[in-house]
Symmetry: C2
Subunit: 532 residues, 2 copies
């Protein structure tokens, strides 16, 4: 397959004169062919208009039709074969085995959402049957379910070129809900985006869906992204990336005459607390685990633990020694892009200059700038300094963590109270530690979307009970997850149908319950049909 470098709007390849760029391979810092054409603001209009037209048809498709579409996308992605993995490797520097796994996750997500909408209960159907004889006034027949919002803008993320990009979790959940999707491809891996975008377009065509159900737009700056979010026909947006870019989109969406939700997942330090018993009995094991979690994917996961807290003393000193050895023997790795590598090193420089911060450990091996290397690095400080220097709560994206020494366990709670919002927070402790940590857990419940005991936060399961979200700045909307089956809820809103004849109702709300959904009938959960 030869890449064409064009945006794909409702099945049509579009090339405008707005500008162009090459992807740069982080493996050697060299530009990759072909040239990618940035789309214009006119292209944005066209994509939204065709998405809105397609929505009129797509929102009325059956769950089965949408499930087949998702499965067809998965099939088309697999059919791209090694070429997809090779291109993604060149564009992101991620190893082929990781990308193979990520492709599995990507098609797994598409298939998971197919099962969610086939089962159907996600639409939260609620039926209150009429009470014609009620005094003083009768109760009408009321039936409520969620319906899709409309065209959704998805921003591909840098760190998951497949699983959180063109056909990633945001797109899969939005398409499952019944929303057309317009993806702004990530500029660091536009070729990967083009290949996957083509797969989606082919799937839409072979499923007989209107082509406007999917578009892929290229652009190198913030302009196209903001224009997509501000377009009157856009109904919601999903984003994974930096705090600055996410807030920028959030602000643009809220300044619209008619505001729309932006689900931006932005920034998280993922604090990890080592409680005294664990520090005494499992210090080496925790240090080894931390090394794995901090350096996995060259530290480029949203859930990488970036803050480690422990109470000072001999046990913490021993742990620190283990962590130093682990990090010193770890290897530098190619980061996702030259820009991310630059930001990583800038971040390390900034942190290193903060008063009271000392370098603790870094990889013994030399990082190779021409291979866009980032080297695992640990700094250290104490809680008093951490509380004083708010800049220590900035995320450094890459294989970096800050070890913070506390005076005692009360000090751990004080510092937890001052943390910003997080995707995750982790505790390591013996059963006795955990039993005594109720107050700390209570604080962390207010700070994070996921609490982990005796594990590591990286490795985000795609399942019903997962929550990948959290208070600001982890995300712009802590009420929703971007990973797991509940992610579909972001793209829907309730509608109540009052006194509708059966034939005018959506199937999900009809008496006979043809899809066998779990519904709330007069407040009681049931899969039963309603007797006429």
């Amino acid at each position: 397959m030869t890449l064409h470098g064009k945006s794909l709007i409702a099945g049509l390849l579009v090339e405008s004169n707005t500008g162009s760029f090459h992807a740069i391979s982080p493996l050697d810092n060299q530009p990759l062919e072909p040239l990618f054409h940035e789309c214009s603001l006119d292209n944005v209009d066209l994509a939204l208009e065709l998405a809105d037209e397609a929505f009129a048809v797509y929102r009325k498709t059956s769950a089965e039709a949408r499930a087949q579409f998702l499965e067809k996308i998965a099939e088309e992605i697999i059919a791209l074969g090694d070429e997809l993995l090779q291109r993604a490797h060149l564009e992101t520097g991620l190893p082929l085995d990781r990308l193979t796994g990520e492709r599995g996750r990507t098609v797994g997500q598409l298939r998971l959402f197919a099962t969610v909408i086939r089962e159907g209960s996600w639409c939260d159907a609620r039926i209150d049957t009429a009470l014609p004889d009620r005094q003083p006034v009768p109760r009408p027949d009321l039936r409520r379910m969620v319906v899709p919002l409309g065209p959704v803008i998805v921003f591909g993320s840098s760190n998951f070129p497949l699983a959180f990009s063109v056909a990633g979790g945001d797109s899969a959940s939005a398409l499952a809900a019944g929303c057309p999707v317009i993806v702004k491809a990530h500029r660091a891996h536009p070729g990967t985006g083009e290949l996957v975008g083509g797969a989606i377009a082919r799937a839409a065509e072979s499923c007989g869906l209107p082509a406007g159900v999917f578009s892929l737009m290229h652009g190198s700056g913030a302009e196209i992204g903001v224009a997509l979010v501000k377009h009157p026909l856009a109904r919601a947006a999903g984003f994974t990336g930096s705090r600055t870019a996410g807030r920028n989109l959030f602000d643009a969406a809220n300044a619209r005459p008619e505001p729309i939700p932006v689900f931006a997942e932005m920034s998280s330090l993922n604090p990890l607390f080592i409680l005294p018993g664990a520090l005494k009995t499992r210090g080496q094991q925790i240090a080894e685990g931390l090394k794995g979690s901090i350096t996995m994917g060259v530290g480029q996961f949203c859930t990488k633990p970036g803050l480690i807290f422990g109470v000072g003393g001999a046990d913490l000193q021993a742990f620190t020694g283990y962590l130093e050895s682990a990090i010193e023997t770890s290897m530098p790795g190619t980061m996702l892009s030259p820009g991310i590598c630059r930001s990583f090193h800038d971040g390390l420089t900034t942190m290193g200059k903060i008063a009271g911060v000392i370098p603790l450990a870094n990889s013994d091996a030399t990082a190779n700038p021409s291979k866009t290397h980032g080297a695992p690095t640990i700094y250290a400080t104490d809680t008093a300094n951490f509380l004083e220097q708010h800049a220590l709560q900035e995320e450094v994206f890459g294989p970096y963590a800050l070890l913070v020494t506390a005076q005692d366990t009360a000090d751990l709670i004080r510092v937890a109270e001052k943390l910003e919002g997080q995707l995750t927070a982790t505790l390591h402790g013996t059963p006795e530690d955990i039993a005594a940590a109720g107050d700390l857990i209570a604080v962390l419940e207010r700070k994070a979307g996921r609490l982990v005991i005796n594990g590591f936060p990286t490795g985000v399961e795609v399942s019903p009970a997962m929550n990948h979200g959290g208070p600001y700045p982890a995300t712009t909307d802590a009420r929703y997850t971007s990973v797991g089956t509940a992610a579909i809820q972001r793209w829907a809103r309730p509608v109540c149908y009052q006194n509708f004849p059966q034939t005018a109702l959506p199937l999900e709300l009809r008496n006979e319950n043809p899809g066998n959904l779990m519904r709330q009938i007069n407040g009681n959960f049931s899969r039963d049909a309603i007797q006429d």
Copy 2:
């Protein structure tokens, strides 16, 4: 009982030197005793700090404890007896029988939310059990439920001095969820607010809850409201009122360093479409029903039908005659406040000056300005003019509607497509009309939160299937309802507990399922316990 005119912060009466005001009775335009003291920005700080402190305790209370608190509030409100109704009558001009009914709805809502949290499944518990042998990596134990957001700011509405005010639906649902509540009392009925606020404070005390779980703040301008929403410790806000005030709060909340959700219910015209068959066979009946719905509560319901569409011809002409007679024989009524009455008359003046708008009918009786009267009024125009004059989509709060003549049924769809977001949309039609109206219904599903067939939108049921919400400007967040049991979902966010020992988990997520909740276990709905 003598009213004291002070704010009530965590059980303490607070009087500051910021300013003061009297309520004005709309019944005679005379000030009512006592003087009400506006709270200061320092008072705002204090209320939020005490609410946040109380939250640490309140969020950990059992559902049973919170249910008893809600029921105790209901009991204390009933114990206020006629004095509450009399004061509300003086402050709002609403008749005593309406206020008696509204009190019933208010205590009914409190008791309904008590049953919702006792049943408990609202917390959306999801459990994915561990798969220790899974390849290539084990799956950890994941358990997710929603937890309360934190202190919630509630703005009392003018038109429901009991049911959507101090102990109204927003407060009841937030307290049920486990959130402390700070109410900004509506300046038009501060005495009613004081009485109800006292009832809540007594209930909190007798239930042994921290006093900071509830505060009531008086203020006459926007300043205190904005300060409450911008306070760093505020976590969400609920508002019912004007579009300008709602948007102002929404913008303030989104401009915060850490944005918070504002659920503002603001503005809706509640379009009503009369389809040809119904116009032919039931014109008079629909005209009578419309009169009731437009004039009920002097037109001061959020769901009052303010736009009526029908296809021109002899049937519409006959219907127009019926509507004219109905409106001419209707009586003016006392509006909620002099300000609202002024806005109503200003709105009528503005609408009347718009080119192509003609007066159709108004009450034969003379409105008495000293009794703050508003008189039922209908204007008329056609769809071409309606589409041209966007100002006709402004809400006129009061007993007013605009009758719009369409050319044909296709014209009805065209005009529906140009409507802004609505709380409700209504169709009147014969079975044949409704069967042929699929395209119109599909458009209205995108525009409104509730669709009504052959009924009237006023009279909002408080039940599981109700949706009282809709696309902007009906509300700032179409994904949530402010009426019905689902309203509790506004005040919560999910947290996932990974690999937690049983004793560290909330009861809702423990294996034995002590509350017998409906949960999702590995994606399947079940009330079963999990075998260890």
